[in-house]
């Protein structure tokens, strides 16, 4: 069925099977937790931020394929990005998975993250795809307590 394979694309399944940047960096200086009380999905996100630049980002936790792959691919996308670019990516990703048109303008492109466009056809799964992203934002804003996408 085409719509199912829109959601479960090979790249997403691959990141689910072999999540990248899984674990904890030695000296994280930003940290936050994300939690979906209804699903039980849970993520801890660690960042190493140097001035305005994200040097390292890693995660730990449990969740469905969509939330795990989203966290894994987010960590790849954020490494080396500026804090400003991270926020732009957050906005673009959010628009992508909620089916809003792209804004255009300056800033980093979604690139491989576009694989999540199929999520917009599964409204119940938007929160899975955005959990890691909300957690990242909370970490950068210095809110270590658990955020929720419910």
């Amino acid at each position: 069925m085409s719509d199912l394979s829109d959601l479960y694309q090979e790249l997403i399944l691959d990141h689910n099977r072999r999540p990248r940047n899984y674990g904890r960096p030695e000296t994280p200086n930003r940290r936050s937790e994300g939690y979906n009380p209804l699903c039980g999905d849970h993520i801890t996100l660690y960042l190493v931020v140097d001035g305005e630049t994200i040097r390292d980002v890693r995660f730990e936790g449990t969740g469905c394929a969509v939330s795990k792959a989203s966290a894994s691919m987010m960590t790849e996308a954020l490494k080396g990005k500026s804090l400003e670019d991270a926020e732009i990516l957050f906005q673009s990703f959010h628009r992508l998975v909620t089916g809003c048109p792209e804004l255009g303008g300056k800033g980093p492109a979604l690139g491989k993250l576009s694989v999540f466009s199929g999520v917009s056809e599964f409204p119940m799964r938007v929160k899975c795809a955005t959990l890691a992203w909300h957690t990242m934002r909370a970490a950068l804003e210095g809110r270590p307590e658990a955020v929720s996408t419910e």
């Binding site: 209804l38 039980g40 969509v66 795990k68 599964f122």
Partner: protein, 425 residues
């Protein structure tokens, strides 16, 4: 603390002898919602532990009330109010008969199971549970039979104690009996577990509690739809359930309480209908059950629940229970044989709930894929997070059949589960 990895194999059985007498297709014809396509496939609804569908008789009773009798109860002098009051009180009487209560004043209408449990915690509980006392619950409780007691215990300096379970999902009764003591003020337990399907031996447990004079509250949310319940036979002092899980409307439920207990309990919510007289200095309370029914009740809901009781009593309930047991065993056998599947909840006494996990595949992904096949199931912690922790799982997938489901529908779910595994391979 880990459950066995062995998958119990239930021999695929021929349909039970009752099944011939039980015409599931006739039963299905009463449920308009079942006859539809979802995402281009015939709807397969296997999420009955979350809520059940409504037979035509219930839908009609609710519309008829609004079309013909709509009025407030217990106060009007006019014909419509008289009719509304009669239908509302008739529904109470039907519920009384349905669960074997001694008197209809022991039937308190609530919004649902959760409200019933909260009512007991906030009235009986506040009055009787003090510092150093204990409330006893079990590992397999729904959050609605945990949190009200947790709040009460925190507020009053009491301790919440939890009866452990075996790996198969059965209560450890010897532990339970050891945990009962002079400080136990109440036992609260589920009749049929919404996450495991375990049917608890309520009568034996109530007998043990009675030896200490401890009242027992039973969460019957799942049980009432599946087999006949007699509260006196069970020895339940309180029995709470919801209309919507037994083919009735949402927003209506029942708290049964033994009259002697209800009489001495203080009122809960205050307002109209629950008083006998009010002055600015002092009010006095209405008689049972109105003392606990402040404000205009869910009249249409109660009437719909009465219609659901009538409808259920028109069904051969033993045959229906045998049909559900057959579906449960059939699903456990078929789903349990899928490679990588581990069944969660394999108690000897169980019904209507088949919970499982698939190695390496999260239940939410299972749920989304089944949904695309028109199959409605539940994935998550089922509002039983402490139970999930007991099994060291974040969530399970749950198939919960009702009397209108068929073996063909279980087969469709199994085919879709194979598809899930195919996608994730």
């Amino acid at each position: 603390m880990h459950p066995p990895h062995r998958i119990p194999v239930f021999p695929p059985q021929e349909a039970a002898p009752h099944a011939a007498a039980f015409d599931v297709h006739e039963i299905r014809s009463h449920f308009p919602v079942l006859h539809q396509s979802v995402r281009g496939k015939p709807l397969v609804y296997l999420d009955n532990a979350a809520t059940t569908h409504k037979p035509r008789a219930v839908i009609d009773a609710v519309s008829r009330f609004y079309e013909r009798d709509n009025s407030n109860v217990h106060r009007g002098l006019h014909a419509l109010s008289e009719r509304a009051t009669k239908s509302f009180e008739d529904a109470r009487h039907k519920v009384q008969q349905f669960i074997g209560a001694a008197e209809s004043c022991e039937i308190v209408f609530t919004r649902g199971t959760t409200e019933g449990i909260n009512l007991v915690a906030q009235t009986y509980g506040r009055r009787h549970v003090g510092p150093g006392d204990e409330v006893l619950i079990t590992t397999m409780e729904h959050h609605s039979n945990i949190v009200p007691w947790q709040l009460l215990c925190e507020e009053n300096g009491a301790t919440l104690r939890v009866v452990p379970i075996s790996d198969s999902g059965e209560l450890l009764l010897e532990e339970y009996e050891r945990m009962l003591g002079p400080r136990t003020r109440l036992v609260a337990l589920v009749h049929l577990s919404n996450a495991l399907g375990t049917i608890n031996p309520v009568r034996r447990m109530a007998d043990a509690a009675r030896a200490y004079g401890i009242p027992v509250l039973v969460d019957g949310a799942q049980a009432v739809a599946h087999f006949p319940v007699d509260v006196r036979d069970l020895g339940a002092d309180f029995y709470a359930f919801s209309g919507h899980k037994m083919f009735g409307p949402t927003g209506i439920g029942v708290l049964y309480g033994r009259r002697a207990l209800l009489e001495e309990m203080p009122p809960w919510q205050a307002g109209g209908d629950m008083i006998s007289s009010v002055t600015f200095e002092k009010s006095s309370w209405n008689r049972l059950p109105y003392k606990f029914e402040a404000g205009t009740p869910n009249i249409a809901g109660a009437i719909g629940l009465g219609a659901a009781v009538d409808w259920l009593e028109g069904v051969d309930r033993d045959a229906a229970a045998a049909h559900e047991d057959d579906l449960t065993r059939y699903a456990m056998s078929a789903i349990g044989s899928i490679p990588g599947v581990r069944l969660i909840g394999t108690a000897r006494e169980k019904s209507s709930v088949v919970s499982f996990v698939i190695t390496g595949i999260h239940p939410h992904d299972v749920g989304s894929i089944l949904d695309r096949e028109g199959i409605a199931i539940r994935a998550g912690h089922h509002c039983t997070q402490p139970l999930m922790n007991r099994y060291d799982l974040p969530a399970t997938t749950r198939v919960s059949p009702a009397l209108y489901n068929t073996r063909d529908e279980i087969d469709a779910a199994v085919r879709a589960l194979h598809k899930v595994i195919e996608i994730f391979r």
